[in-house]
């Protein structure tokens, strides 16, 4: 299953212990929306918990700061980037090669977080 950091996702019923563990690992839960990994989540541990509770592999994906699209497909670092360990936003294939990307990244940060 693919999980985008900062995006809501659903899980099958996991049992009380697994749910409590996910909460302890900083996963956000909302009854209506489901679960979410946020900057405080210990994503590495949460992925392990989900994997052992559901038996499914979890592929963590990051969003592009500039356009909010999922950034990972087509990324040259896909095989070497440990997405459970890096910070939660990135750059997508479309914006990364642009010459003015550094400036666009700074502007997007100010726009998104002010």
């Amino acid at each position: 299953m693919n999980v985008v950091v900062g995006g809501w996702f659903t899980l099958p019923r996991l049992g009380r212990d697994a749910f409590a563990l996910l909460m302890k690992q900083g996963v956000v839960y909302d009854k209506a929306m489901g679960f979410k990994f946020d900057p405080l989540t210990d994503i590495q541990s949460a992925v392990r918990t989900i994997r052992s509770a559901t038996g499914e592999d979890v592929d963590v994906m990051l969003r592009c700061l500039i356009c909010s699209k999922v950034a990972c497909p087509g990324c040259p670092y896909l095989s070497v980037c440990d997405r459970t360990e890096v910070s939660s936003l990135c750059l997508c294939e479309e914006h990364s090669p642009e010459k003015s990307v550094f400036e666009a990244y700074g502007k997007a940060f100010v726009t998104s977080f002010s």
Partner: protein, 389 residues
């Protein structure tokens, strides 16, 4: 140094940890006396200290920076933190208290330090930010009730690449895509490392960009030829040897370097100090201190040995291999002999075998000895050789 030249001037010029940067800034803006402290957790080189300094500057606050592992006792903390906790300047300028490496408050001398920090958080008229590398440390756990945790992570390699490309553009440096990617991944999320690698590449065109695949001899030669300590540190970082092996290889090489006696003595003194520090790190298990090993070698040793050549063992590899092979076989013979003669392997090697090898110069004895210990033909050559010594 490019890390200084391109140090961000504002929080928006940093890379990675976008949400945490925002959350910390918002926390600082909303902070009121009696509020909790912020606790930044994350590995070195991800921008914790830089962000705190930039936020203080942005808000016109006086930054009171304190490394908790340097002031580990309650008394020392009180002396260094005490005034800042309550003070505002005559012009009403506020202070921002930054306690770095709070996970370094370990050991018996820290009794009271954690409680003092907790009290200071409650009483402080100025906001307190703490930083720790290890989010699972006891100190971080003990401070959790007084702090709001914020986790810093390394930026994704794509953002590191973006920064490197921007620096290369400003420096008019032509770097290939693949090379940039190698720097971005090789730094392991440490932005300073990545920028230093790019700078070393610009000053030493011959340097390989593959951070991990560099051979020991090449890395040591880079170390000896480095023009400054940053370049020397990069060479050491690219070395995939264990720290002890690194120190041992440098010691061997420095001994054969032909340096004048005074310089050689000074160099050996530095290596000895580094070796002592390494021993203490192993003993205390404080692995974070490992980063200072390379720094000390690059800053103190390299200027003394600059220009000399890396010298490996004098013997060629094939000879070394033969020696290792022979010693392994002698050990096997001694163990078999020890089992047969009801003695230990060590005393067989040191006391009995010299005589046995001497007797092996006679063919009949040698064959009987081989039969008795069930040695195959490969050992015959070894025994003959040992007998001829």
């Amino acid at each position: 140094m490019w890390v200084e030249k391109y140090r961000p001037k504002r929080p928006s010029e940093m890379i990675g940890n976008e949400q945490v940067r925002f959350v910390l800034s918002a926390w600082l803006a909303a902070w009121k006396p009696g509020g909790k402290a912020a606790l930044l957790m994350g590995p070195p080189g991800v921008g914790k200290t830089t962000l705190v300094a930039l936020l203080a500057k942005e808000r016109g606050m006086n930054l009171v920076e304190l490394n908790a592992s340097d002031a580990r006792t309650k008394e020392r903390l009180r002396v260094r933190m005490g005034e800042a906790v309550n003070a505002t300047s005559l012009l009403g300028e506020r202070s921002l208290i930054f306690l770095d490496e709070v996970d370094g408050l370990a050991g018996r001398s820290d009794y009271g330090a954690i409680d003092f920090i907790k009290d200071a958080v409650k009483e402080s008229q100025n906001p307190i930010i703490m930083a720790a590398n290890d989010p699972d440390s006891d100190e971080v756990r003990k401070l959790s009730s007084s702090t709001i945790p914020m986790r810093f992570r390394p930026p994704p390699p794509r953002e590191v690449e973006m920064l490197l490309r921007e620096i290369a553009r400003r420096e008019n440096l032509e770097v290939g895509e693949e090379e940039l990617r190698a720097y971005a991944t090789g730094a392991g999320g440490d932005v300073r490392n990545a920028v230093n690698s790019l700078q070393s590449r610009s000053t030493s065109r011959a340097e390989t960009y593959k951070d991990t695949a560099i051979s020991a001899s090449k890395a040591f030669n880079m170390f000896f030829e480095a023009k400054d300590s940053a370049e020397a540190a990069t060479a050491l970082r690219k070395l995939s040897l264990q720290p002890f092996e690194k120190i041992r290889e440098l010691q061997r090489s420095v001994l054969r370097s032909g340096l004048p006696p005074e310089k050689l003595a000074a160099a050996m003194r530095i290596i000895s100090n580094v070796d002592l520090a390494m021993g203490r790190i192993v003993k205390s298990g404080d692995w974070r201190m490992l980063r200072y090993i390379d720094a000390q070698l690059a800053n103190d040793l390299q200027p003394l040995v600059r220009g000399s050549k890396y010298s490996q063992d004098d013997l060629p590899f094939t000879t070394l291999l033969r020696i290792w092979n022979d010693s392994k076989r002698i050990k096997e013979v001694s163990e078999k002999y020890a089992a047969r003669a009801h003695t230990s392997g060590a005393s067989a090697r040191s006391q009995d075998l010299p005589f046995v090898f001497f007797l092996c110069s006679g063919r009949r004895f040698r064959e009987e000895f081989e039969r008795a210990l069930d040695l195959d033909e490969g050992y015959d050559k070894l025994l003959s050789k040992e007998a001829a010594r």
